[in-house]
Every structure is written in structure tokens, then in C-alpha cells.
């Protein structure tokens, strides 16, 4: 039994559990064996001095739900070995929030073009510095801060 750091719940009764970063992969493997076979989504929250990663789990036999949270500064283990659907969710968390997932097969940007600078959902992202996108000759995207170079 992996120890749990603290517990709370949402306003309509879904249990929330906090786990330390080092125990995360072992805890989720244990939960998957206990019957939580569906991973609904992976998200992140920026709390200015640290980041948090959330995992929404669902058991299709007993209809029980669970939210697992962990604190980090930069990096977390990837769970693509347990659920194949985690691949795209982790790429989006890297793209928009800058959370790095170790041992991910292909950690690249998914929603923004390659070459974008910065992670927009962070609270200190400068919204007034705009970036402009154009197509290079080899078909890839080219991003720059100059207005004349793109749209």
C-alpha cells in the first residue's frame, strides 16, 4: 500500500488524493490493478511557486471516481505504459503548461506550432508580446516575433 499524503473532495463528492512525486507511478499501477481501468484526462495547474498535475480515474465496473494530484517543480514520470490515451494528454500539458514527462515516446507540441516560445497557460505568460507564424519552404512552421514575417 503506497502511503497517501492527504485527502479532500470536490463539492459533489468525488475523492481527491495527494501523492508524493516519487510514489506516483507505483500508486497509479496499484489503482489500475484495483479496478480503475479508465483514465479520463490529465491536466495541470500553475500555482505560481509550484505546479500540480491531476489525473482523473474511473472504474467501469463500480462507477467509482478518483482524482490523484501531485506537486512538482518541473518533471513527472509519464504513464503511457499503463494507458495508451495518456500520450496526447501529456503532450498537451507540456505544450500549454511546460510540465516535462520523463520517458514519453514523443514529447512535442500538439496544439501550437513548433517553434512557439513560452507556455501560454502559465500565469506569468506575457499576453502583449505577439508571435507570428509562416510556412518555411520545407513545409514546416516558422515562428518569430517580427510582424512582417508572418500572420
Amino acid at each position: 500500500m503506497i502511503p497517501v499524503e492527504s485527502e479532500s473532495s470536490t463539492k459533489n463528492g468525488i475523492k481527491i488524493v495527494y501523492v508524493a512525486k516519487e510514489n506516483l507511478l507505483a500508486f497509479l499501477t496499484e489503482k489500475k490493478e484495483q479496478g480503475f481501468d479508465t483514465l479520463l484526462m490529465i491536466t495541470g495547474v500553475d500555482y505560481r511557486d509550484h505546479l500540480e498535475v491531476l489525473y482523473h480515474l474511473l472504474s467501469s465496473k463500480t462507477n467509482e471516481r478518483l482524482i490523484v494530484k501531485t506537486k512538482t517543480n518541473e518533471e513527472v514520470e509519464s504513464v503511457t505504459s499503463l494507458w495508451k490515451g495518456a500520450n496526447w494528454h501529456e503532450r498537451e500539458a507540456w505544450d500549454l503548461l511546460g510540465i516535462k514527462f520523463l520517458n514519453h515516446p514523443n514529447l512535442t507540441r500538439i496544439l501550437l506550432p513548433e517553434g512557439w516560445v513560452g507556455h501560454p497557460l502559465r500565469k506569468d505568460y506575457p499576453m502583449d508580446k505577439k508571435q507570428y507564424v509562416n510556412l518555411a519552404d520545407d513545409g514546416k512552421d516558422r515562428v518569430s516575433f517580427e510582424k512582417s514575417e508572418g500572420y
Binding site: L112, P113, P120, Y125, M127, V133, L135, D141, G150, Y151
Partner: protein
């Protein structure tokens, strides 16, 4: 004297023919595309104004209706498709997002209007505009073509 009357009549006839048989290019990006498809349907029949077929390739079509938000990742591809159309070609920008950015105007990855990418002939506001409004835009464009007041 008889030469110039003949040329003027042919010129007028060609402009009338271009205006009354515009073939649109299917370019639906977002929510406004659903209203465009409703206009093609049988309740608000779009085919009776001469735009009978929706062509899928840019090389076969005259009219590009940009319906939906233009994002920075998509904008260079729109320019490339516009360059592949043959002259004479026209653009209708449908909806608030394509005309001026819409509700997403403060976003970091949205272009404020498609007129920063391609030259536009008719702007149409609404979120989304009703099918009757789209038919009015088509009539306006047809009148401007017949009068000769378009920009390529």
C-alpha cells in the same frame, strides 16, 4: 463605332455571366460552416442563385467563403489555397471571427480577421449569421461584379 459597341456588349455579357455562376470552394473552418451547409440544403436553397456545385479543388472554383476563426497555424495554408485559385476570384468573409476576430480577439493564437491574409470583397457579420444573411451577401457580390467594382 460598331467595333466598340460589340466589345462593350461582350464585356457586359461576360461580367453578367461571371457574377451569376459563381462556384464556391468548400472552406468551412468552424461554427459558421454549419450555417453554410444549412444554406446549401433544401430549405434555403443556394443552388437557385447559380452556385450549383461546391467544388473541392481550389483550381476549379471562383469564390472562397472563409467561415470560421482564422488561427495563426492555419493562416499560411489559407494564403497558399488562395494563390492556387485562378483569376477572376472573390472572397466572402463570413461571421464575426473571420471579419474582425470575433469573441476570441484577445487570444494569443488568433488572427484578427482574414483580411490580414487575403483581400476580401464582402464582409458579413453575425455569430453565426443566418442563412438569409449569407444569401444577401451573395446577391451583393453579384451586383458588384456586374457593376465592375471588385478588387482581385
Amino acid at each position: 463605332m460598331s467595333d466598340s459597341i460589340l466589345v462593350t456588349s461582350i464585356d457586359e455579357a461576360m461580367k453578367w455571366g461571371t457574377g451569376k455562376s459563381l462556384w464556391p470552394f468548400t472552406f468551412g473552418l468552424a461554427c459558421c460552416a454549419i450555417e453554410m451547409m444549412s444554406t446549401m440544403g433544401s430549405d434555403y436553397d443556394w443552388a437557385r442563385f447559380g452556385s450549383d456545385v461546391f467544388r473541392d479543388s481550389p483550381r476549379h472554383s471562383d469564390l472562397m467563403i472563409v467561415s470560421g476563426t482564422v488561427t495563426k497555424k492555419m493562416a499560411p495554408r489559407i494564403r497558399r489555397l488562395y494563390d492556387q485559385m485562378a483569376f477572376p476570384k472573390f472572397v466572402i468573409s463570413m461571421g464575426a471571427c473571420a471579419s474582425a476576430g470575433g469573441p476570441y480577439v484577445r487570444g494569443y493564437s488568433v488572427v484578427d480577421g482574414v483580411d490580414q491574409v487575403v483581400p476580401v470583397d464582402v464582409y458579413l457579420y453575425g455569430c453565426p449569421p443566418r442563412p438569409e444573411a449569407l444569401i444577401q451577401a451573395l446577391k451583393l457580390l453579384q451586383d458588384r461584379i456586374v457593376a465592375g467594382k471588385v478588387k482581385h
